[in-house]
Structure formats: structure tokens, C-alpha cells
Symmetry: C2
Subunit: 219 residues, 2 copies
């Protein structure tokens, strides 16, 4: 967790080859890091441990397999130092429960995707996203993943999510606006390309300032 | 592809730590190997290349991310020697198209999951599985993944799938029957634990014989 900004509402998606370097630079300004498969497949699971030196890591593996495979994937993530994993709710409550069971052994968190931020997320997920959030809650997930690209969806999902954490990807390069997503009910926004493709510190500080100016920094 | 049994309708799921060893033993008896994340995360992407010495590899990554991440995951698989990847259709047609586009560069195949073989597959996938198969077909997927645990679903999905290949997991440990799945319309059955937990050659030869006895060996 950041020291300068423990109240930061930014989760940095490190979908870049120099992920560890970026993590070291911005660790003090973000709430957590999100890593996903292209990075982990290229660098190995050890990259999770390396990044976790600079902040909490959420393994965005979008786990979507049958229960006995999904639980093994979650184990790989937590054993490597992740504090959270992301799973798809669409695959059903048995998988969700298994992944939550693994997370509990590691005192980790599970976040369930209920609707992807991409256009395709509208096709089969939007229509059942509220139901997915309900199933995720019942299974013991700590939070849900909802699209900052469609903030009206965050508002609707917040009603079902209750006190679950909502984390929202799609800010920046995908078109979503950080402040709009937070206003709509997201607890944390996930920002990737617009941080790591420029000057990471400058980008993240600038974003933090804007969030503060809008009175959304939670202080 | 196997030499002794090029007509084999078995795809071996190598969800075991000694995957390369098992692959070497049974390569001549199966149509392809299926590997998934727990193995690849533990052994590294290079395990795909090692297994591919003994037969074609399908990377069962159940890709379920936004398009620009999904395409990177597919690239990792194909660059490592996979001949096919498995993607989830419920994430929408944009992701499917992106993964197919990557596969085409490698002359590889894409198989789309339309319904998981686990119980949770009934909750949100069964009801839209036919639509998912249609979307997968339109996106250019080579085949779909449909549950051998519910053979009546294979029969229904075959009607939508047309000439797409149907591969069916859930045979053996999960309760599905190989011959029933083939009769229902699957082209290939995916068998994991019931092969690698015993004597792999004995198990796979025994299964091949049973398929032949039932006249389902496609010869």
C-alpha cells in the first residue's frame, strides 16, 4: 500500500514489459497494482513477488475455469505473493466458492468480473451483471469489477453490490473518466496505458490531483 | 498428431506435473494435448514447446479478457508452439475476433467455450450457449467446447455449430462418458484425470478400444 497516498483510489494496471520499474516509481501513489497474464506468462510468476515489494498485487487472471482448475490458478497467484485475484462470475457459483476458499487460506481477496469494459461486455454480460454481482456476493467475493466505460452500469451495480468493493477498469485509453467512475460509485479506478505509456509519476500525480480537486479523494 | 492413431478422437488434458512425460508416452494414441494455466504458470510457457514434440498442443487458457489483452495472451500461446487456443465466447465477439486474427497469423485454431462442464456452467452459460456458438462461428472460430457431462447439450449445440469442431471435456473424473459424448455429436473428447492418474498408456488404449468397439473411431 502506498505511504504518501494510502488513501489513493488508483489501482495501476501494469500491462507493460517494464512493470517492476513502473511499480517502483509509482508505488507510493497507488492503492494497488494489477497484473495480468501477458506479463506473468512472459516474466514468470516471480514477477508478482517482485512487484509486491512496492505495493499490493491483484492478479487479474480473469479465472474462468471449472472449480478444480480455477482453485489451482488462484493458488499459483497467492503463493506468488498476490493479495487478490480476479475471477469471472459468469462461470458460476461453484468456481467462485472454490476460489474464495483458496483466498481465505491466504487471507486474500477475490474480485469478480460482472461486466467487461470492452464493447463485447454488452453482448452477454450487461444483461446479467446484476445477477452476477449477487452471486459473487453470496459466494464471499470481496468485490466486483465493473466498467468505467459505462458509468451508468456502475451506479446500477452499486445497488446490488452493497458494501462490496467496486473496482473499475477502462479509465483513460479505453475512454472511461476517472472522476465520473468514482462519482458513479466505484471505490477504486484501474488505470493502465495512460499511466505507463507516458511519465508514470507525472501521470499518476496529475490524476490524483484531479481526483482531489473534485473532492473525490476520500479524505 | 499421433502416428499409430491419427484417427484418434481423444484429446489428452495434461493437468499434471509430469505432463511432458505423459505426453511422450501417449503421443501416438491421441489427437492432441490440452494444457492449462496451472501447468504453464508452474513450468513456464516453454512447457508448450516441450509437449508439442509429441503432438499438437491446445492452450486451454480460457481467454476471457478485453480484446487487446486477449490477443496478447493468444500470441504468448502460439509463439510458444501451441496449435490452438481456447477462448470464452461470453466475453463477446470483439475479443473472439481479435483472438481469431492472432490465430490466423500462426495458422492456428481457436475453440470457444460455450458452456463449462462444471455445475456452474448451468447457471449463466447453458441458457445462452446456442447464441454463444453462433457468435463463435461468425467470428471465425474453428470449434466450440461443449460439456460431455451433459450430452443432450452437445446434441443441441451441434445443430448450431454446423461444421465447426466440437471438443468435449468432462469425460471420466467429472462423470461424462466418452462414447455417449461422441454419439451426441462431439468430434473429440477431452480426457484428463482418468488418463494421467493411472497408467496413461493402458488407460488411453483401453478407451480407444472401447470407442472402436462402439464403432465410433471414425474409420
Amino acid at each position: 500500500m502506498g505511504q504518501k497516498c494510502s488513501h489513493s483510489r488508483i489501482i495501476a494496471a501494469l500491462d507493460c514489459d517494464n512493470a517492476v520499474e513502473v511499480a517502483e516509481k509509482i508505488g507510493n501513489y497507488v492503492r494497488a497494482f494489477k497484473v495480468n497474464y501477458p506479463l506473468v506468462l512472459k516474466k514468470g510468476l516471480k514477477v508478482i513477488g517482485e512487484i509486491s515489494k512496492f505495493g499490493e498485487v491483484i492478479a487479474d487472471f480473469k479465472i474462468a475455469d471449472v472449480p478444480h482448475i480455477s482453485s489451482q490458478i488462484a493458488e499459483c497467484a497467492f503463493e506468488s505473493g498476490a493479495r487478490g485475484v480476479i475471477v469471472h462470475a459468469f462461470v458460476g457459483s461453484d468456481t467462485l466458492r472454490e476460489v474464495v476458499r483458496v483466498a481465505e487460506r491466504f487471507e486474500g481477496d477475490v474480485y469478480a468480473v460482472v461486466e467487461l469494459s470492452s464493447e463485447g461486455g454488452r453482448e452477454f454480460m450487461s444483461g446479467v451483471a446484476e445477477k452476477l454481482a449477487k452471486v459473487a456476493k453470496e459466494a464471499g467475493c470481496r468485490g466486483i469489477v465493473a466498467p468505467a466505460t459505462r458509468v451508468e452500469r456502475i451506479t446500477r451495480l452499486r445497488k446490488v453490490a452493497g458494501d462490496m468493493i467496486i473496482i473499475s477498469p477502462g479509465v483513460g485509453a479505453q475512454g472511461g473518466d476517472a472522476c465520473e467512475a468514482l462519482k458513479a460509485g466505484a471505490d477504486f479506478i484501474i488505470v493502465g496505458r495512460s499511466i505507463y505509456t507516458g511519465d508514470p509519476v507525472k501521470s499518476v500525480v496529475s490524476l490524483l490531483e484531479r481526483i482531489k480537486q473534485e473532492g473525490l479523494d476520500g479524505q
